[in-house]
């Protein structure tokens, strides 16, 4: 389909568009054309489109208010499918060929929206109405009222599928960060850059220049935007300066850190393969010049939300930058001289200026002169008191100085209530701006450390002054960074006038019903009347006003509404604006895609994956893997013909109990500890005694936290005089390392000891089972003696295996069988697994995974993660006797508190269901048999369970009040989540080989 109407409002080529090329796009299914450099807004405007969207609450027809990121009305769904972007401001969406946009929050279509009738009930649906009703009957809220409210909630729709695009993050460092590339920002960057500072200039727009592009203005006799381009070229030629366009600095954080998002590929249909859509920049700057410009304020008058009522500055932007006339017949409504420029620009491009309504008295400005030049009717001391045209302005009612109302037909209203400096970045750290009566504006007062504000953002609205202000700020920023800087030569600018008289609304003397349709916050449909109602109900703190009316909480965060609301509230409560206060502006300054803040770490790469040394081999074996913290570990090794995981795991367990199995236990934390005071150090961090551990021996150790609860356990081997290697649980490996460093560096710096992690250095494989010695004998190099006498339980040695590979061997057992842990340098881990399979084949060797490891340890009654959960004590774990009473150690004192030693505490027990086939579920609770299931009768819980092939029954470990005294008792194991109760016997937690004969074998 060809363009329906063509770009009939394109008046000439704007300085930012390339009319030599045509782009095709569609809006609400209709095809249009535009040019490179257009935004969706400017292109639609060029095509004569006025109606862009619907408001949130009353679904009122809305058009463009602005030409920038402050836009409250013209929100669309951009793109489609998985790339659908809801609530995209048409004013910042760069046009590309094939762009698809759809209007939102309307049904069935934009020009007829059924929920538009909400407006008829606005007197009921005023601020906070929902707090006062929908309470009866109580059950109707979730069932009836809320679903209706939720149907109407929100604006655009999030995509239905995962975002297919990539995002990335980067960190940049500079001396001077300049935010904004208008006259002040460019001057600041030039001053700092020429001084040799490392400068980053961020501009949220695709082009540099800021309002230099938006105004019909000359610098040094040239068009102002050409000077901006020249400045950009000079900056880009400097080696340590970078100009980042399409990059919005959205937040000020601590330590001179700024958050910025770069739209890398939003101006194209689809990013190229590998190309990120956006990049999140963390910019660390010693100094920052904040030159983010200012935002124009609308005027609050009845029906000021009609499509065609626009900000005066935005009208100039569309004319000068985009070459688009936003209407054919305009009325200009202003309280300041800046607004009058709009009349001149409109006149220059041939738009009829029907009237100039200046709220200031005649003679107080140059308005009469301008009106005469443009041939416009002039209304000094005038006000617009109504506006007509449902889906587009048709006329306004102007009240003249004498109070007489006259209708003026028009299709465009350009209004200016003055400019609000864009101070957001100065307030993110909690500083509030202060009100300046002469400028009718909030200006930054206390700035974050290292930040200076310049130009319009600091209330300097004149171009020449802005250039100078920016240059000064850039110069001083460079000087503070230690550079010699001078003020750069600046271009000559024509003087401009910004004479202003306060104008926030035109409601004086109007009936209440009119005020109901005078909008303060456009997107959230907050009217002047809502502000009045909130005040009447006592919501007179600005924060209360904001929260009660939702004013300033829309996607534009009140950029165009906050000051007007404040002025209204001040007037109603008979206070000044400074007395009334202001709300803090929260980051981000513009909404930021969550994908950009997340970056590249998504899906399977959300967190890094740690692979043990035998991973490749285990994959080839067809192992099933499980996440264990960041580690990926083999959970079990299924064999053909096995019907489920339980069969596999049971077979693996039996292999260990009857022959020999092996398992990669590299993931256990391993810490090399050396130094003259190493033994003393161990003695202080473990609960048990460590001073007499002989070289070549291993000991089990339990650590507490300083609050007396159990923290971690493991074994530590003495490999030489003053040389130990400690193992920790997989989960706590990092934490224990930090804990040891803490103890050493802060608690006992006098101890001479060194730590380094060797977790990744050694591939450590547990070889367990009655045939384990036979298997090891095949690989251990002579003359190492593996006999029980030479290398008994809890022995450790350094040796070589497989003909010269250095190794460490520990006679340890988690399974309760005769077992070893063999460590070789990690690079050989994979090959060691293969070798064990080879040499172990005659003995029936098989690998086992973490699941079988768990079954084996439960059968043996060894506590692990579920038992060492940070809430249990040594006593709870049945290890109370381990606590030395002869020394100080971490936790020694607090472990003695009465509640930690109370014999009634649930203590470790074993559990066997009366019917061995009754499956136990970890997390079930223990109750006395026959007791009613309540919190009062709850006596403990089941922490770990397994089907034990060795016992031929389900078994479990758990904690039971007064547990050890109750061996033999039958209790109820309750799992009310599943509605299950099982009778089970309390037993000793060691199910297999309680005397420990096998591990000594």
């Amino acid at each position: 389909m060809s363009a329906a109407f063509g770009q009939t409002f394109r008046v000439k080529s704007g300085n930012g568009v390339d009319v030599s090329r045509t782009l095709h796009f569609s809006f609400d299914g209709k095809d249009y054309t535009g040019h490179p450099g257009d935004t969706l807004a400017s292109a639609l405007l060029a095509n004569g489109v006025r109606l862009f969207g619907r408001s949130f609450k009353y679904h009122r027809p809305r058009g463009l208010l602005s030409a920038g990121p402050e836009e409250p009305n013209a929100l669309v769904e951009l793109r489609d499918g998985a790339r659908r972007e809801p609530n995209t401001r048409a004013t910042v969406a760069e046009l590309f060929d094939g762009l698809i946009a759809t209007s939102q929050n309307r049904w069935p279509n934009l020009s007829f929206d059924a929920l538009g009738m909400n407006g008829m009930f606005s007197s009921i649906l005023g601020a906070g109405f929902y707090y006062k009703t929908f309470m009866w009957p109580a059950s109707f809220w979730e069932r009836v009222y809320e679903p209706i409210i939720r149907k109407a909630a929100g604006l655009g729709r999030a995509a239905d599928e995962g975002d297919p695009d990539l995002y990335e993050k980067a960190t940049a460092f500079c001396d001077v960060l300049v935010v904004g590339s208008g006259s002040s920002g460019l001057a600041a960057a030039l001053a700092a850059g020429r001084a040799g500072a490392r400068v980053i200039l961020c501009e949220q727009d695709s082009l540099v220049g800021g309002r230099l592009r938006d105004e019909h203005m000359a610098l040094d006799g040239k068009l102002a935007w050409q000077w901006a381009e020249q400045a950009r070229r000079e900056l880009e030629a400097m080696p340590d300066v970078s100009v980042m366009t399409r990059t919005c600095v959205f937040g000020t954080y601590d330590g001179g850190t700024y958050g910025a998002v770069e739209r890398v590929a939003d101006h194209v249909a689809v990013p190229r393969v590998g190309q990120p859509r956006q990049c999140l920049w963390r910019i660390v700057a010693r100094e920052c010049v904040m030159a983010a410009g200012a935002i124009e304020r609308p005027v609050v008058f009845p029906h000021n939300d009609r499509p065609g009522v626009m900000l005066a500055g935005a009208v100039r932007t569309y004319i000068n930058r985009f070459g688009v006339a936003p209407g054919r017949r305009a009325v200009v409504y202003t309280c300041n001289d800046d607004g009058l420029r709009t009349a001149l620009d409109l006149y220059r491009v041939g738009v009829t200026v029907a009237a100039i309504v200046d709220s200031r008295p005649g003679g107080a400005s140059i308005a009469a002169e301008v009106a005469a030049k443009c041939g416009a009717r002039f209304f000094p001391s005038g006000a617009i008191v109504d506006c007509y045209g449902r889906t587009g302005v048709k006329a306004v009612l102007v009240r003249d100085a004498a109070g007489k109302a006259k209708s003026v037909s028009c299709d465009l209203v350009a209004m200016s209530g003055g400019w609000s400096p864009n101070v957001a970045l100065t307030t993110h750290k909690g500083a509030r701006p202060t009100w300046h009566d002469d400028l009718c504006a909030f200006l930054p007062f206390t700035l974050p450390p290292g930040m200076a504000a310049a130009g319009a953002a600091a209330g300097v609205f004149d171009t020449a002054e802005g250039l100078h202000d920016g240059a000064m700020a850039g110069q001083w920023a460079a000087v503070r960074c230690g550079f010699e800087a001078t003020l750069p030569a600046l271009p000559e600018a024509e003087p401009t006038s910004y004479a202003i008289h306060p104008l926030f609304h035109a409601l004086k003397g109007l009936a209440a019903s009119k005020k109901a349709k005078a909008f303060v916050d456009f997107q959230n449909d907050v009217t002047a009347k809502d502000v009045g109602l909130a005040a009447r109900e006592g919501f007179v703190s600005v924060e209360h006003l904001k929260r009660y009316t939702t004013l300033g909480m829309a996607t534009d965060q009140g950029k165009t509404s906050n000051v007007n609301a404040l002025a209204l509230l001040a007037e109603i409560t008979e206070r000044s604006i400074p007395q009334t206060g202001t709300t803090l502006i929260r980051p981000p300054t513009q909404p930021v895609a969550i994908g950009a803040l997340a970056g590249a770490h998504r899906g399977r790469h959300f967190k890094p994956t740690r692979l043990p040394p035998t991973h490749q081999w285990a994959e080839q074996q067809g192992a099933v893997f499980t996440a264990n913290g960041l580690w990926l570990r083999a959970q079990w090794f299924p064999r053909a013909g096995e019907k489920d995981w339980l069969e596999t795991v049971s077979r693996e367990v039996r292999t260990v109990r009857e022959a020999v199995g092996f398992c990669d236990v590299t993931t256990l934390g391993k810490i090399d500890i050396q130094g003259p005071d190493a033994a003393e150090f161990l003695n202080r961090v473990y609960v048990n005694a460590w001073l007499k551990l002989a070289v070549g021996r291993v000991r089990y150790g339990l650590m507490l936290r300083e609050d007396g609860f159990a923290y971690d356990d493991g074994t530590t081997a003495c490999l030489g005089e003053n040389h130990y290697v400690m193992t920790t649980t997989t989960a706590n490996a990092g934490g224990v390392m930090a804990h040891l460093e803490f103890c050493h560096q802060w608690l006992w710096p006098e101890l001479d000891v060194q730590f380094i992690s060797v977790t990744d250095e050694w591939a450590q494989l547990a070889v367990a089972g009655p045939k384990s010695r036979d298997v090891l004998a095949k690989i251990v190099d002579a003359p190492f003696d593996l006999s029980n006498e030479a290398f008994p339980y809890m022995a450790a040695a350094e040796l070589t295996v497989c003909g010269g590979v250095k190794a460490r061997l520990f006679r340890l057992s988690f399974s309760g069988e005769m077992a070893y842990e063999l460590a070789v340098p990690a690079r050989y881990g994979d090959a060691l697994a293969r070798r064990l399979m080879e040499v172990g084949a005659p003995f029936g060797i098989a690998p086992y995974g973490t699941e079988a490891l768990g079954v084996l340890r439960i059968e043996k009654g060894h506590p692990a993660g579920p038992e060492l959960n940070g809430q249990t004590t040594a006593h709870d774990l049945g290890m109370g006797r381990l606590l030395s009473t002869k020394k100080d150690f971490i936790g020694s004192r607090m472990a003695r508190r009465p509640a930690l030693t109370d014999p009634q505490r649930p203590t470790l027990i074993g559990i066997r269901p009366v019917n061995p086939m009754d499956a136990l579920v970890a997390g079930s609770h223990f109750l006395p048999q026959g007791a009613a299931p309540t919190a009062e009768t709850d006596q403990g819980w089941l922490s770990s369970v397994a089907w034990s092939p060795s016992v031929g029954s389900w078994i479990g470990l758990g904690f039971l009040t007064d547990g050890p005294a109750r061996h033999g008792e039958i209790i109820s194991v309750h799992n009310p989540l599943a509605g299950a109760v099982i009778a089970a016997r309390v037993v000793d937690p060691v199910f297999v080989d309680p005397k420990g004969e096998r591990l000594h074998g």
């Binding site: 330590g255 560096q745 802060w746």
Partner: protein, 99 residues
Amino acid sequence: MRLTCPFCGSRGLEEFTYRGDATVRRPSADASQEAWVDYVYLRDNPCGPHRELWYHGAGCRSWLVVTRDTRTHQILDVRNARDVMLAERMSPEGKGEGS
């Protein structure tokens, strides 16, 4: 927020972990129960400058004593914790503290 590690220079928050108040001292084993409860649980928690322990775990693994304003997050001082404690042990007032 950024901390200037005495060894590694200025680094971002993500490299550090926090441990809390650096003004409390581990009592001796024979100190009173009150002293221990105080050490493990009670904190001044000031609104303003706060001496606190940070661990440069993703960097040089040094524990640091940082003085930071809890109202503004401004960093006022960073020292190597081990040096701070050794100096304290050497000073006349510091003797007898610790275990």
